[in-house]
Symmetry: C2
Subunit: 225 residues, 2 copies
DNA sequence: TCGTTATGATAGCTTTACTATTATTTTTGA
DNA sequence: TCAAAAATAATAGTAAAGCTATCATAACGA
């Protein structure tokens, strides 16, 4: 493939499109690494500016504040996952198989994707595990939601819910089950690593496979007629 | 009942026991209201001190920082819920009934409990919905976990998991299902209110009942042999 | 080449998140 | 009941966070 792929995101997510310039791409790239390294609470635009050899003021021209940057990153991630699901389920008719592919994609460990250079999908997945809930657990959630910044996540949630409805049209809670499992998929990995008594997954080489089994179990059992 | 009940919490949760003094109780009481009012991010000890007519320095003698105070509040809540479950399931043998009572208690709207004056359980439940994940989604989770500050939550999770195991000893993921549902129980309420496309629950008078139905459905379906 | 746009350099402001010191109450227990 | 101890209040101060503003310069496009 010669043409480059690009995830198109809602412009409300940024002040200036970070994909449109060198500095913008650097901001995204390095912020992923820095947030992973020191955690979102300790992360500041000042520290990031030092890291990329720029200034605070320059970063503020791309993102209103660090929370918006986080929302951008997480949004990019979910859009990427949905693109992968669309791609991998193409030409597949059986809804159970489609759902299974989707579960695989939300539970497996992502590898860095050459189609999107400059973004480390594996590092980004770590941010989703550790920080993603902070995008919406904020007092101004309604305000930013109106701007459409959560569209990517909602869309993914509905895609998965639609497979569930295909499998069992009588199931009353497809969206809820979908969002619960999207959340659980990273929550259980977090628990397995940090609060193991909250999970049956055993941290180790096959923790992702256990997670796939767990999420599959509750989804397919819940959908049984 | 004449003797007062008191939830005994791990002393690692505080510097000085807030239940032991007037000021301490005021700190807890008013912090619940203030966090609900302005959100945890905007909440500061300075603002709280103004609210209770005291000083920042005095509050710092009770809690190391605002995060620790949040952990304390959430921990109190889960211990309270477990006390309620223990109480309500007393003398009941049937594990399905016990589990159902537990689900009811984690999904129903709490009313202020006269046994614990000075703490508004209903306001506190709102904090659990909006802020509880922030207790563990922090870079120093391993460090504070070693101090045992999450014991209350783990204990509750295991209690519920034990009912699941009684119902179906072959079920492989009782703890995971338990933590997933504890999280989902408040997450779905949050979604219903703020991000309705992520949930099938319809915000309104009976949203708690819908939530009970939802959580019951996935739990009991998942446990089916 | 001129004007626009992006970036960098620098400064400055308010608030947060503390810590320290000293004075004043309040408690308690001998 | 009084003195010592403990808790609180009052005050001050510091480094960093979370911005905003201004101006100079570089690059870029028409």
């Amino acid at each position: 493939m010669i043409a480059k792929l690009q995830i198109q995101l809602n412009p409300a997510l940024y002040l200036r499109d970070p994909q449109s310039s060198d500095l913008g791409q650097k901001i995204v790239q390095e912020s992923i690494l820095l947030i992973n390294k020191i955690g979102f609470e300790s992360f500041t635009f000042k520290k990031l500016s030092v890291e990329i050899g720029s200034t605070e003021a320059s970063i503020y021209r791309y993102f209103e504040n660090k929370h918006r940057l986080l929302v951008y990153l997480i949004s990019w991630y979910w859009s990427y996952v949905e693109y992968r699901i669309t791609f991998e389920t193409h030409n597949i008719a059986d809804p159970e198989e489609k759902l299974s592919i989707a579960i695989r994609l939300i539970t497996e460990e992502l590898k860095d994707d050459d189609n999107f250079p400059g973004i480390s999908e594996s590092e980004l997945q770590q941010i989703v595990i550790n920080e993603s809930d902070k995008t919406y657990l904020t007092k101004n959630v309604d305000e930013i939601n109106k701007e459409g910044v959560f569209r990517g996540y909602k869309s993914l949630c509905e895609t998965i819910a639609s497979y569930m409805t295909e499998i069992n049209p009588d199931f009353e809670f497809p969206r809820s089950l979908s969002s619960t499992c999207l959340e659980a998929a990273h929550q259980q990995l977090f628990f397995a690593e940090h609060l193991p008594r909250l999970s049956d997954l055993k941290n180790g080489a096959d923790v992702r496979e256990q997670n796939f089994q767990y999420v599959s179990t509750i989804i397919f059992n819940s959908l049984k007629k």
